[in-house]
Symmetry: C2
Subunit: 554 residues, 2 copies
Amino acid sequence: MPERYTVSNYLIDRLLDVGVKHAFGVPGDYVLDFLDHVVASDLQWVGTCNELNAGYAADGYARLNGAGAAVVTYGVGGLSILNALAGAFAEQVPLIVVSGAPPGRRRETGAMVHHLVAGYYLQLDVCKQMTADAAILTDAGTAPAIIDRVLTAAITQKLPAYLELPLDVALSPCARPGAFAEPTPAVSDPESLEECVAEVVALVDAAEHPLVLAGVDLLRFGLGEDALTLIETTEMPFATMLSSKSVLPELNPQFVGIYQGGWSRDAVRAEVEAADCVLSLGVRRTDLDTGLFSAVLDGPRVISAAGGEVRIRRHYYREVELGDLMRGLAAAVRPRSYLSSHPASGDRFARPFVPEAGVPLTAVRLYEALDHFLDDDMVLLAEPGDAFCAAAEFHIEEAENFIVQGYYCSIGYCTPASLGVALARPRKRPVVLTGDGAFQMTAQEVSTLVRLRVPALIVLINNDGYLVERKLHEDGLYNDIQTWRYAELPAAFGDPGSVVGCRAQTEDELETAFDTAAANCDKLVLIEAVIPGRDCSEGLERLGRAFRAAQPKK
Amino acid sequence: MPERYTVSNYLIDRLLDVGVKHAFGVPGDYVLDFLDHVVASDLQWVGTCNELNAGYAADGYARLNGAGAAVVTYGVGGLSILNALAGAFAEQVPLIVVSGAPPGRRRETGAMVHHLVAGYYLQLDVCKQMTADAAILTDAGTAPAIIDRVLTAAITQKLPAYLELPLDVALSPCARPGAFAEPTPAVSDPESLEECVAEVVALVDAAEHPLVLAGVDLLRFGLGEDALTLIETTEMPFATMLSSKSVLPELNPQFVGIYQGGWSRDAVRAEVEAADCVLSLGVRRTDLDTGLFSAVLDGPRVISAAGGEVRIRRHYYREVELGDLMRGLAAAVRPRSYLSSHPASGDRFARPFVPEAGVPLTAVRLYEALDHFLDDDMVLLAEPGDAFCAAAEFHIEEAENFIVQGYYCSIGYCTPASLGVALARPRKRPVVLTGDGAFQMTAQEVSTLVRLRVPALIVLINNDGYLVERKLHEDGLYNDIQTWRYAELPAAFGDPGSVVGCRAQTEDELETAFDTAAANCDKLVLIEAVIPGRDCSEGLERLGRAFRAAQPKK
């Protein structure tokens, strides 16, 4: 370890400045000097089994922590993590990827060094397309300003960023940083804001049945508190969407449910679409959030605020930030008393799970049991597939207790992401709800959960392959996968005394498994829930019907 | 399944035309229509646990079969496979990636569909940078010509290719193909060839100690037979390199060894560098093949032929193809009798392994035992790290019996690649020599080996983490990994009756394990060889010393 202060030190200090306390990744020779600095610093190193999993872990960490970092080597590492970087871009997560690289003298001659693909700028070019900002740190003189610029872009835009650190620059002496210039949040134009708030207040006050539709930007930009104040002050009913689920507390009596256009529960759809004034806040029109674009999000009754812009009928306000708008509205909109007057809410609380002995488990009963099992000290991560269709209807009270890739939908994300969740929220238990196909993608990361003694609970739905594909399309043998002995797997990854594996085929076996999980809250527990016969949640049935209807005709 | 002939049918028929009989991949909704066509065709579908592993499997398949294919869904699949595509580009392997995609009507409106990252051309743009050719099939009218063009580029240039098949085009009716126009190999200019051959013949004939240095292009372009004729006719001694190892039979008495500049065994280096005429054929100057650019590959004694060009001293011949040159030389160079006169060859054959009971296993003894165990019905895949350093010195007789990523060096490649090797060469047994860190990267693909009843032998060197990093650099805690119970893992992936796991800590346990592997030639066998104390091959020791010496000073 060099005594002098280097570019590596600077980068580490700035990562700490933006709140990153853990770095996930895999070593490789181009990044070992940087890693020497990491392990000598306050930034805790968390090695993972491969780079994609490191990216997923850092993404899960960033969602709760405000930013996350993954460190990889050049080429083989930088290109292996790309799908995680892409997911973070699509999902607006400030994941910072640091890649080692060959030294400048190799880059300048174009030498054929190991891990090189097709030129020394390829990795940067690719990463630029899926980040807020990306750069190679080519010398110690410019590195500090570039590091500050790139990190600031990530945390203000809530998007990933990429920094490439050549071997020689990692060791170059560098000036120590001053205080990190806290990024200034976007500000509203005062006159636009004032006029906009006045118009929206008039529209909401004049409406008989106004409703708030809370979108994913509220979650990503940390605006849940402002939204909560608005709905508590005005007592308007509110709906959320799959990707924004849990941004507002779901036990609140004004909560209508998850709106997904034609995929919604009938009562939710009816109430949202009957509202005569919809305040759409931070909604992104993705196919899954809009029920394949069937959601009614336009027309004169919808006031749409997102990305600094507010649209009312055919006119727009610019430079009106969501947070400012919500605070303005909370202070001026007349309060209502909707507490008992909106009809759509289903069961306000999760139903108790009373097992019937010997009765084979069904999907619906598994989900009822898990919904009942969850509490405020657990963070649920739901995989794309039947898991996120079912979990959409779970009763989640705290914004940070639900993690989903509701847009990018990369299966295999949740198991590694639970590692990041555990380190960002060490007092909470990560609970992964995953299918067998999704689990197999990234299963080795269970070993890192075991190594770090993360007491995750993995609920693995063994439904015999890629169930979601079977529901969206005619079935084919490509949906079949190898049946693992899932409950035995955790013990193969390390100390069998620190893990528990259970298999449940009946309702009482499932209850016993959840009891075991509760009793072993210091251990990793994997419950294999066997759901035969293509059984699934009602949510996936609805989604499957809509998808099949929308496919090109053969 | 539609009755009519579609673009999907066309693409499948052309893949069959270029010799691809298996397609590896993972389903996803954008590619299900294409997969319906695949499972109804003669192209055999091989599902893998994730897309990166599909890419590695198809790469292993392509190396022996001439071309390989992987099929993935959009975004999450296309970006997960990128590191395999990059590896195929760096290593010159015709891996054809087919990705499903949203239909044209979504692309035209820019709709936010699931799995989309940042625009509908991002995946194509990225893939273009690491393929011979890449295209989106936007309509059925142009698709046939584009498919033919892209596949031809892959198989003539021995580089990967990318085809993106939108949902709607996959189902579009399409004309049936005519006969596939066999790609015409590059041809030499007759006059350049004649003059060049004459000059080279004169130089070789005048030399006292000429030597052939056989590079990786001979392997990739299938020129091993021509090279063998040349060395058999002329009786010149020959050396190979790490990436071209096995292109010429290593039991041949003219075989000098593996030349890697300053990393070579001393006797090999001495003989290659003492030659007064080196015929360098198809050599690529990568850092690993050249011993960090220490190999002596320039100067008046070196005749260098590669990429259609021949260099002699300061002049060049263009349009002289390697195959034509070798055939011309074989017919004209005067024969020598080197059978007993060149000094460098080490042991001509693998030494018998005679275990000492109870003696703890060392790296050197493990490698001696494996070298002895291998026969011509086995294909060895060696991971980057101590595995490929040690395996470089193994005695391999057939070109197709050794697979290595000698340039791109992506750890985790070999386990999935062995699946492709098994399907390309069903009569041979794949033998994977891997480290524990490399194995953990892609370990789940053992389950696909189990599912397809591939009787692979996995020799896992448990040396307690990333040994190669410990040797190249000062050690750090980032090199530590979780210790798995490796021998128990295969049974967790399926039917325990079809797998065998053994653990060997002593020489006699290792012999027993190899005996078990031989006796269970119809089963997947995993041998965990425990090598404590940072012990490694002499090859890795040499590599580590050179790397440390070349690093920037702190």
